[in-house]
């Protein structure tokens, strides 16, 4: 009998990939996101200048319109900001920071929330009740409020904003994972595994966890869009990242002061990039949910 070793798959991975790729919206979103990923993480290689190396930035070039040329003959395709930084380079570096913050906070929250959710589902009883009470309490507070309070307390910094984003996100994962794990735990193949006297940890890792993955993937994608958006908002308020590590949100904030004078590009261009990232991640999550059809 091989029941215990064969948890029901939602469909073969290849089959799901094919279904996902059939959807033009999903493919476009994936390509857009991948392009930004490459652009962001390759920023030091492809950016025309290092916008944070003061030696490369000339204050005389400040506030130039897109397409202008610098004194040294370099073209600022997307213009420059108030300090004379090349916007294209600043945006590329900004993408990198936004993505790093979004991914890191998402993964950490995913890991922490999954552990909590699995413990709750596995131990049941008062452990479950206590953990879920905490989750409920956490979820009852609006994310922006919690993040705001935390950052006011903690101050600025990449590590601090990641911490704040993990705090506001982990509860979603914990609740989702617990829900799926409870359902999966009641299934026949888990019963069969128990019958074979497999240890609780092995059942959890080998049987229940893999079946939580599709759901977690969808939640993680959606949460990442939220995290990127929230980070941008907090940075815009001057609460998130330090000025030395400008994410897209901070770039937009810097340009906001120049908006009234018609120098739209400093704010709008990083804003458009932010928009494209958030929408593509959202569409990705949406399509993933359709394809994987998790119990949300």
């Amino acid at each position: 009998m091989s029941i215990a070793s064969a948890p029901p798959a939602a469909g073969s991975a290849r089959d799901l990939t094919r279904r996902f790729l059939k959807d033009p919206g999903a493919v476009i979103a994936l390509l857009v996101f991948a392009a930004f990923g490459v652009a962001g993480f390759g920023a030091p290689l492809i950016a025309p200048q290092n916008p944070y190396d003061l030696a490369q930035v000339d204050i005389l070039d400040s506030l130039l319109e897109p397409g202008s040329e610098s004194f040294t003959g370099m073209t600022y395709w997307l213009g420059t900001d108030g300090q004379g930084r090349d916007m294209l380079s600043a945006i590329l570096y900004g993408i990198r920071i936004s993505l790093v913050v979004g991914l890191a906070s998402g993964l950490l929250a995913l890991a922490f929330g999954t552990v909590v959710g699995l413990i709750a589902a596995y131990r049941r009883g008062w452990v479950d009740t206590l953990l879920m009470r905490i989750v409920d309490l956490q979820l009852s507070f609006p994310t922006i409020l919690v993040a705001l309070i935390l950052l006011v307390i903690l101050g600025r910094g990449v590590d601090k904003i990641i911490f704040a984003l993990v705090v506001v996100q982990w509860a979603y994962f914990a609740r989702t994972v617990r829900g799926v794990a409870l359902v999966e735990g009641a299934r026949d193949y888990v019963e069969a595994a128990r019958g074979l006297r497999l240890g609780g940890f092995r059942i959890l890792m080998g049987h229940i966890l893999p079946n939580c993955l599709p759901t977690m993937l969808v939640v993680a994608t959606m949460q990442m869009a939220m995290a990127i958006s929230l980070e941008a908002t907090l940075s815009f308020l001057g609460l998130g990242l330090p000025p030395t590590r400008p994410s897209l949100g901070l770039l937009i904030a810097n340009g906001f002061d120049y908006l009234q004078s018609g120098r739209y590009w400093i704010s709008v261009l990083p804003g458009l990039v932010l928009l494209a990232i958030i929408i593509s991640v959202n569409v990705l999550g949406d399509r993933l949910r359709d394809v994987l059809n998790p119990r949300l």
Binding site: F141, L145, L148, S229, Y264, V268, I279
Partner: protein, 325 residues
């Protein structure tokens, strides 16, 4: 019922205590406000004087007890920068924020309900698809970005809307409001709309989902089969059923709206508590920051409590008990 309310109140109190501790200790272990007041020539004696004056020489737990003691008496300390009681400043600025938030709430319902109901009645039409796309975009785009685009479009490019401040206000005796003057409304429109988008998206989703569910129920079929006019069927029989979850969620989210008001107020220079918070953070005006956070948490916890109690009052099945259905 009474037991439920008592339990709920105790729970809210516990949350409040935990949150005040978190806020107070958190804020007081970072930074040192002394240096804000000390001039560059200030020597150690001068510094000590300031420290004693601010009560910062006490152990942190005693500071907390003093803080809680004062809090209960409605004293949240003086703002370092303004030199007036922090609570006073908050009450001075709060009406502007509340006006903004309530205007946003009204807009969200006024636009969101009809859109959501329409999308629920014709879920497969292109109109519904358009509405749902709008809802998704309004929900996922950062609020500050929408605000910026509005300013760029309507203030900078078209010059139709003012982008700064509250405009003329009318003194109602106890509070000043903008929405009663034309100039005030003009100023209120963009920030209120920007702030309303997230709620609007939520109202649309809830109204659509509720409508789709309700329209298949027997009681709607029965009302129709009894000849009740369609307008009455939708406007009373269906609407009252979908309003319950919408009111609940909006009540729960109102704290979030106050928090998002920070963003909107910063962008539109709306003179509310949110803008004040950002200014206070910039100069580390701790009493003011703490007072703001305590007030918002207090408001949020109270609101949640109220919504829970109200919910049980709104739904006759819960209010009157014995609802087996």
């Amino acid at each position: 019922m009474t037991e439920y309310i008592i339990r709920r109140v105790l729970q809210a109190l516990l949350v409040l205590i935990v949150m005040t501790m978190l806020v107070f200790f958190g804020v007081n272990v970072i930074g040192n406000p002394v240096y804000i007041f000390a001039s560059s020539e200030c020597d150690q004696a001068c510094l000590d004087a300031i420290i004693t004056d601010l009560g910062l020489d006490q152990p942190i737990w005693r500071q907390y007890l003093t803080f809680v003691g004062n809090l209960v008496q409605g004293d949240m300390g003086r703002s370092f920068t303004h030199g007036v009681p922090a609570l006073h400043l908050i009450f001075e600025r709060l009406p502007a924020t509340l006006e903004l938030a309530f205007s946003a709430l009204v807009l969200a319902l006024a636009f969101g309900l009809p859109m959501g109901i329409y999308a629920g009645l014709r879920p497969y039409g292109w109109g519904a698809k358009l509405i749902m796309s709008f809802s998704m975009i309004a929900f996922s785009l950062p609020v500050f970005w929408i605000g910026i685009i509005m300013i760029l479009t309507f203030s900078v490019q078209l010059g139709w809307m003012p982008s700064v401040g509250r405009g003329d206000t009318v003194d109602l005796g106890f509070v000043e409001v903008s929405f009663l003057t034309l100039d005030g409304l003009h100023h209120l429109a963009m920030p209120a709309f920007t702030l309303s988008l997230i709620m609007m998206a939520m109202v649309i989703r809830l109204a659509r989902a509720g409508m789709r569910e309700v329209m298949f129920t027997d009681y709607i079929k029965f009302a129709r089969a009894s000849g009740v006019p369609e307008r009455r069927v939708l406007g009373a029989h269906a609407l009252k059923n979908i309003l319950i979850p919408i009111v609940t969620v909006l009540g729960m989210e109102f704290g979030g709206v106050i928090a998002f008001a920070v963003v909107v107020e910063s962008i539109f220079s709306w003179p509310g508590v949110g803008k004040m918070l950002i200014d206070a953070i910039a100069v580390l005006d701790r009493p003011l920051i703490v007072a703001y956070l305590i007030c918002v948490v207090f408001m949020f916890v109270t609101l949640n409590l109220l919504v829970d109690v109200l919910y049980s009052l709104l739904d006759p099945r819960i209010r009157l008990g014995g609802g087996k259905a």
